[in-house]
Subunit: 141 residues, 2 copies
DNA sequence: TTGCGTGCAAAGGTTTTGCATGGCA
DNA sequence: TGCCATGCAAAACCTTTGCACGCAA
C-alpha cells in the first residue's frame, strides 16, 4: 500500500489525533467533531482516510455491539499485533494486547491439534478486564 | 423473553432453515432469498425475527469483516457455547466449536494471570481451517 | 372475534461515490 | 504546471418504523 502521495493537513491531523490516543476507539462522528474544530475536513475524506489506513493496517476498524457502530483505533505500524491475541473489555471498551507466551502456546495448539492457522491479529477475545471486574459487576450487558 | 404468542409459517420456516444449517452463517439477503422461495416473507419480518431470536440467544449475529455485512447463525439453546472458543475460517467462512480442554485452560490462564474474564461465547478466533489450508493458499485475502 | 404478526413502503442512519475545485509537489 | 486530494451533495446501502390488513388462537 503506502500510496499517500501528498501530505495534507486533514490527513495529518487525523493520524496525529488517533496516534495520541492509541488505547481509545472513535466513531467517525467523534473524529469528525474533534477534527473539524481545528482543521477543515469533510466526512467523506475521513472515510477515505480511515479506509486506506485500515488497509495499511495502521488503523483498525471494530464493530461495537454495545454502541452498534463502527469504531476506529490506531494500532501503529511497528506493532507485532500479528503475534498475540487481543482482549477487549466489553465494559470499558479498552483493548489490551496479550503479550504472553500463553498466546503463542495456544496458537500452536490450535495448529497442531486442530490444523487451524489462527490469525492472532484479527482475533479479539471479549470479556471483562480486571479493573472493571473490581469495580464490581457489569455496567452494561 | 420467549414472547412469541403465535405460531406462523414465516417464523417457523426461518428457524427451521437456520436450524438445518447450524454451522453456517447467512446474511439477511441470503435468508430472504432462501425463504421467499417457499413461503411469503418480508425482509422487515426477517429483521424482526432475527432481532428477537438474538435476544433470546437462539441465533447469533456476527459482523463479517471480509464481506462487511452482518451474518446470522443458529446456536441453539442447549448449546454450551459459553464454555468454548470458536474458530472461524476466513476462507470458507465456517465456524467450528473448539471443544477442547485447551480452550478452558487458556481461559483460565487469562483469568489467573491477567484478571481477564473472557467470554468464550462472544470470542471468535479468525484463521484458516485445516481443509482450506490443504486446498492450498488463500482464495480471498 | 380479538389482537398479534405480517408485508409493503417510507423513513432513518451510515457509508460510498461523482464531480468540480483547490492544494501539494 | 499536473495531478492528487478534498469537500459538497447526491446516491447507495442496510435497517427500522408506521400502518392497514390478514391470520392464528
Amino acid at each position: 500500500m503506502q500510496k499517500n502521495h501528498y501530505h495534507t493537513a486533514g490527513r495529518d491531523a487525523l493520524i496525529a489525533f488517533l496516534q495520541k490516543n492509541p488505547d481509545r476507539q472513535f466513531t467517525v462522528e467523534e473524529l469528525y467533531a474533534q477534527l473539524s474544530e481545528r482543521v477543515s475536513v469533510g466526512k467523506s475524506s475521513l472515510y477515505r482516510h480511515l479506509s486506506e489506513l485500515c488497509e495499511a493496517e495502521i488503523v483498525r476498524k471494530f464493530h461495537s455491539k454495545e454502541r452498534d457502530s463502527n469504531l476506529y483505533q490506531y494500532v501503529g505500524d511497528e506493532c507485532d499485533c500479528k503475534h498475540h491475541f487481543h482482549q477487549k473489555c466489553t465494559v470499558c471498551g479498552r483493548i489490551n494486547h496479550l503479550d504472553c507466551h500463553a498466546s503463542a502456546d495456544f496458537a500452536e495448539h490450535l495448529m497442531r491439534e486442530h490444523g487451524f492457522a489462527v490469525d492472532c491479529g484479527q482475533s479479539v477475545l471479549y470479556g471483562v478486564c480486571a479493573e472493571c471486574s473490581e469495580k464490581g459487576g457489569r455496567q452494561n450487558a
